[in-house]
Symmetry: C2
Subunit: 253 residues, 2 copies
């Protein structure tokens, strides 16, 4: 970002320009065109770093830049760096926090986010119009762009933890973060280095935490209860903290 103006356009940095497969033109007011013109100050003949959504990364060459928009060619140079084998199962945060949470965990490179209703969660959060696949996908994409990655985490909405648990792969390793009943700190959990075949599921509650019923469900589904210290963290702070500790513990960082 080279000017305050940039703040009006973007909430986070555009470290790669994401394109759809075969997309070779941005209309003038497409935010990517605005970014390339106003922030990167590129002209016809210049190159910019680009990549296909969930596809290869490479370089794009600006062929034409005029009042209609920007035409470019794209040369794939390398495959997308794979996402980390971490699945985040998270209770609905407040709407104002949701976009940031999705963007931040996407920038950290989790492979999947399950956003779920919880027994103690505020029902109205779920009804917020911020919670639709469109805006969720946009936030996840923004996080990938921040991280200069073409890989976008998968996303699912679940009505309840019961539903969310049904969607987990059988082979997944499972940890639920909880202030009550933790058997150890997250950093000391026993488990193997997560893989695509055997990912690690990290479950983080919403602001009022888990109900006794949900705690039973997690136990019956083979979750280990771990802690992140005794201080009460916001849902999105806990998500970033839990993902970071897991990435560090299993040397994925």
């Amino acid at each position: 970002m080279k000017s305050q103006t940039a703040l009006l356009y973007f909430c986070s940095a555009m470290n790669i320009i994401l394109i759809e497969k075969d997309e070779r033109f941005f209309p003038r007011y497409d935010e990517r065109c605005v970014h390339i013109r106003k922030i990167l100050k590129k002209k016809a003949g210049d190159l910019f770093s680009a990549g296909e959504v969930n596809g290869p990364e490479g370089r794009a060459l600006i062929e034409r830049l005029d009042e209609t928009g920007l035409s470019f060619s794209f040369t794939a140079e390398r495959p997308s760096a794979p996402l980390h084998p971490l699945v985040l199962l998270v209770g609905f945060p407040r709407p104002i926090q949701l976009k940031r949470l999705l963007r931040d965990v996407s920038s950290l490179g989790v492979s999947s986010v399950l956003l779920s209703g919880t027994d103690l969660g505020e029902k109205s959060y779920r009804e917020s119009n911020l919670v639709d696949r469109g805006s969720a996908s946009a936030s996840l994409r923004e996080g990938a762009v921040q991280a200069a990655s073409t890989a976008i985490p998968s996303f699912s909405l679940c009505d309840s933890i019961d539903d969310a648990l049904r969607t987990l792969p059988d082979a997944a390793q499972r940890v639920v973060l909880d202030v009550e009943g933790a058997v150890c700190p997250l950093a000391e959990m026993s488990g193997d280095r997560p893989t695509a075949e055997r990912p690690l599921v990290l479950a983080v509650g919403s602001e009022r935490g888990w109900s006794a019923r949900e705690r039973d469900l997690f136990r019956l589904s083979g979750f280990t209860v771990c802690s992140l210290g005794s201080r009460i963290l916001r849902t999105e702070t806990a998500c970033t903290a839990a993902v970071s500790v897991a990435l560090a513990k299993f040397r994925l960082w």
Copy 2:
């Protein structure tokens, strides 16, 4: 938070009511009074969890609640839980990110935040009126309240990394997060468990990173260069991630 109304009042949860030493009355529209009335739904004779800023935690008894405000008595029950011996040295983020960054690292319990100008940082960020001790203190306090802690991290503004480095205690262990020249991932840094006498300084750059000059300064000041993976993280995501990994590595969590 028990209602959507709460969203209008607070950006994060009030898990403890912070009071000044000898403060025993909240005017009716003080946010703490509003929270106790509207969210906690307390009445005269009820108790609420409270603590003195940088002082003991305990319980407060509502003695009177009327149109003028709320009068209470306070009983100290335990000393404040100490903050973690971590010092965060961070380059100015965008103004819209600064409040959140301060609140989040305060909720994680760092003992000190040094907010510094950097060679590549956007100068206008520093001039923002968000950057004054008043609003910084308010954000740090909000993070402590979220974490149900009475201890507020100390805060300093520095014009440059040169100035910031001069303020560090000689005995401090020093790590700078950098995408270039890292000798190891943060989780594999060598070092002793931080203590109040020998804290760990974590330096996190602003969005354009460190200049060659600043990298030299860090090296000459005995900083080890560590990484948090290869993905480009926002300044505040990197701060939460770095603090979390350090707390986990040194079993402070």
